[in-house]
Subunit: 498 residues, 2 copies
């Protein structure tokens, strides 16, 4: 426990004693071997760097309130996790040493399902799998929008990190409605219309009256969200999943402009995923199968392999939903405009797009073996030349460090989230250090080139926050001090401390 | 100036002197006759109640910074307005006595137009009319989404109040992207990705890194927004505007459920407006033409008149946009499902829906004459029974006070914003007091019945804020104290003070 900085060992011991009285001894962990699973990270840091100082697992709001009161009284920093599977961003580890994980997976109630409005309320520990089972039992009228590691992660955790999926409900934050939030001083508030006594409107309208607060509880440490309303997508009448492929790396320019047009006029209502040749290769092959040379795998080689498999340098998988005649009309329009940009189209299958849970995204780990993964996730404006500029910049840095360039892009209407997995073998210390160095340089180079970052891991939050504006960070600190004066909730999250 | 409470007359005089040195004498007003136009309100209060203590009109960010520094130093409360046409919600008047209007209409620059992404940046004083002219000059590739009083109001003002229009971009807040905000201590920040040095991404991605702050600057007094990014709708290939009418008041139940289905599955991509018989009547007739009896105009009478004009008790105007074959397909689906709910459909024309500015919404003032208008704007979940319950409740209160029941509803997917104009003659003191009383009772009765309020006027902000949860109001106060410690920006806005 010598890494406890804010509370000191005595404070921490008192806190564990208080927590034990509230949740029971089996739900408080403070011995090194018990903490091992919580220290498991895929990001390129030794496990000790972000190891939690303990874990407390309350089963209910009431228990959580007691635990938070004890933490606040003792100045013990706590790091709330929902299911703790923020893999490649820090898993269930903590940003700052001495922080105790509040593992909320036992708070896993599903409530307030509304079959007319298509809304439901979840606690932190509910997984997509839990929720899908629940909806099936209710009659299967609604679909979920999953992130990549769908079955095992939490809708709340993913939404509060502002995660994305591939259906028209892919912007998870935009489809959440109404949070219950516990502040460190015990204040329990409900955002949106949740503060109106006996309201039946909490999940129907997001903004509430006065300032709209939901956004400040995402990628944030201002409070602990204990309930979240979700909007559910009505099961579509029909759908068609398409894979469009462009042969050459340089096609990124014209493909981006073509897709932007289809996104802006609503022909394609979803973000879909644009993957490069290497990330497609990694879904089915291991790196050692195809390359044993030095440095990063040559992009030309993966493009050749992709072409042999009927794919291209760029491969865009997206799904059209709706009445059959509309899907047919949208398909014809996509075909006309994407083919004009040099694409070949074929029909495809995407479990994530059609309400089928899959663990396929974990195939990435087979690329190198060794369980190393760090997501580099810059934003690019949806202009061909900006995408090209960003990818060229990233490739230069990655090549220098011998890191393979893979990217899966979520195409918004005006911005692309270019989510790039840096995959490596954690057992290979030198490789891990190369990735660590590469990631830091990427953050610096991207923000220096004017690009923003969508999301980052606990290892780089300070660096990324500082590059998004000193004034912004200071405003966040002022709000932090106002809502969590003792600074006990997730210190370091998004670079914010009191 | 004897209503100055925070600053005192001496402080106020010093402030006006400092402001004069910054903006020039002709842009500082403090004499009663000069303030008269700023005290003009349509809401049911005497003009003296919310009369500003002065007006300062800076022409640039630099001037505004100087004026705010002087206000902060002297503890002088200031109330920023964009064009000051928040008619029926308080116009350019202020919530608390002693507050000086910061009239920002001279800050009216349009910048950073991006013809690829469909984005533009506006200052507070830009009107929809200015912006439309600008876009016409750029080639007319994009349409604006106007609120009712489109030509003369400001996109920024309307967006920050969370106003709505009738195209697929009708949720104005959701289509804004990136704010520049001046805090009372002189901090100038840019939300979203605006804090990244030399970024070209500010208008392309809303959320930024870390907590998303935009929402806290809407319906708010935490800072002064000096620039706002806007997303523009690509001009659609074709469109069709439809008027669906239902004959009876009781039809609200089944029509709401039918429209919800079409909204949820995306067949109708816009909110449109559902108007009752009385509000449709008020668009073309004056009250005295049709009714001279006591109390509120009988709803049955306006329904009869509507039917004679080929309309119904409920009339829903909405527009379908897109490629002609899709519009035809959506039309057929609307026809099938709305007719099944008892509607008659006809083609219609709606200037607001097709990028034509109109002042038609001001026809409401002709209903009674005398320039009295207060918007009562509760939210209802999009369930037939909730709409019916809310309207029954509102009618009971309005009937008791002799106020005519008019409503124009913006149909979201899961919530309806039921915007009800209480129209009256301000010259008739007794009528004005009846409306004042009625409005207060409506706010109480609606929130007591569990309904939230979308937006209210400066006359009722405290009352409404208190009914949306004590914890919420206290959290807002804590953020207020963090970002505006002297409490000089718009005290009383949304019930928030330090």
């Amino acid at each position: 426990m010598d890494n406890a900085q804010s509370a000191g060992s005595a404070g921490l011991a008192d806190f564990f004693a208080a927590a034990t009285a509230i949740v029971g001894a089996q739900w408080v962990r403070s011995e090194a071997e018990e903490l091992e699973p919580y220290g498991w990270v895929a990001i390129p840091f030794g496990r000790e760097v972000h190891m939690p100082a303990g874990v407390v697992s309350p089963a209910s709001l009431e228990e959580l309130q007691g635990v938070v009161a004890a933490a606040n009284a003792g100045g013990v920093p706590v790091w709330p996790t929902s299911t703790g599977r923020n893999i490649g961003y820090g898993s269930s580890s903590v940003a700052d040493p001495g922080t105790v994980v509040l593992d909320l997976r036992r708070m896993n109630r599903i409530s307030d399902y509304d079959a007319e409005l298509g809304t439901v309320v979840v606690e932190p520990g509910v997984t997509y799998s839990d929720l899908q089972l629940f909806l099936e039992q209710q009659g299967d009228d609604f679909w979920l929008d999953f992130p990549g590691p769908g079955p095992i992660v939490s809708p709340m955790g993913n939404t509060l990190e502002r995660g994305h999926g591939v259906t028209p409900y892919g912007d998870h934050f935009a489809h959440s409605c109404g949070y219950e939030v516990l502040l460190s001083d015990g204040t329990l508030m409900r955002t949106g219309l949740g503060g109106v006594d006996s309201t039946g409107s909490w999940q129907s309208y997001r903004y509430g009256y006065g300032p709209t607060l939901d956004g400040i509880f995402t990628q944030s440490n201002f409070g602990i969200v204990t309930k979240m309303g979700m909007w559910l997508m009505p099961a579509p009448e029909s759908y068609r999943t398409i894979l469009a492929s462009w042969p050459d790396y340089a096609d990124i320019d014209k493909l981006t402009d073509a897709v932007r047009g289809l996104r802006l006029d609503g022909t394609i209502a979803t973000e879909g995923v644009l993957g490069n040749s290497t990330i497609f290769l990694a879904a089915t092959r291991s790196r050692a199968d195809v390359y044993d040379g030095p440095g990063a795998i040559p992009l030309d080689m993966t493009i050749d392999l992709a072409r042999q498999a009927g794919l291209g340098a760029w491969n865009y998988v997206f799904t059209l939903y709706g009445r059959p005649d509309k899907v047919a009309s949208d398909y014809a329009e996509c075909q006309r405009r994407l083919e004009a940009s040099g694409a070949q189209l074929m029909d495809a299958r995407d479990e994530q797009a059609i309400n089928e849970l899959t663990l396929k995204s974990f195939a990435l780990f087979n690329w190198t073996g060794g369980g190393g993964l760090a997501w580099c996730a810059p934003v690019a404006p949806m202009r061909g030349r900006d995408m090209r500029r960003q990818f060229d910049l990233v490739r230069e840095v990655m090549d220098r460090h011998g890191v393979d360039f893979m990217v899966g892009t979520a195409f918004g209407e005006r911005a692309a989230l270019n989510v790039m997995p840096l995959v490596f073998d954690r057992e290979d210390e030198a490789w891990m250090r190369r990735v660590q160095q590469c990631y830091g340089e990427l953050m610096d180079a991207l923000t220096a080139a004017g690009f923003g970052i969508y999301r980052t891991s606990i290892g780089y939050m300070d660096q990324v926050a500082m590059r998004h504006g000193e004034a912004n960070l200071e405003v966040n600190r002022r709000i932090k001090r106002a809502l969590d004066p003792a600074g006990i909730i997730a210190p370091g999250k998004s670079g914010i401390r009191i």
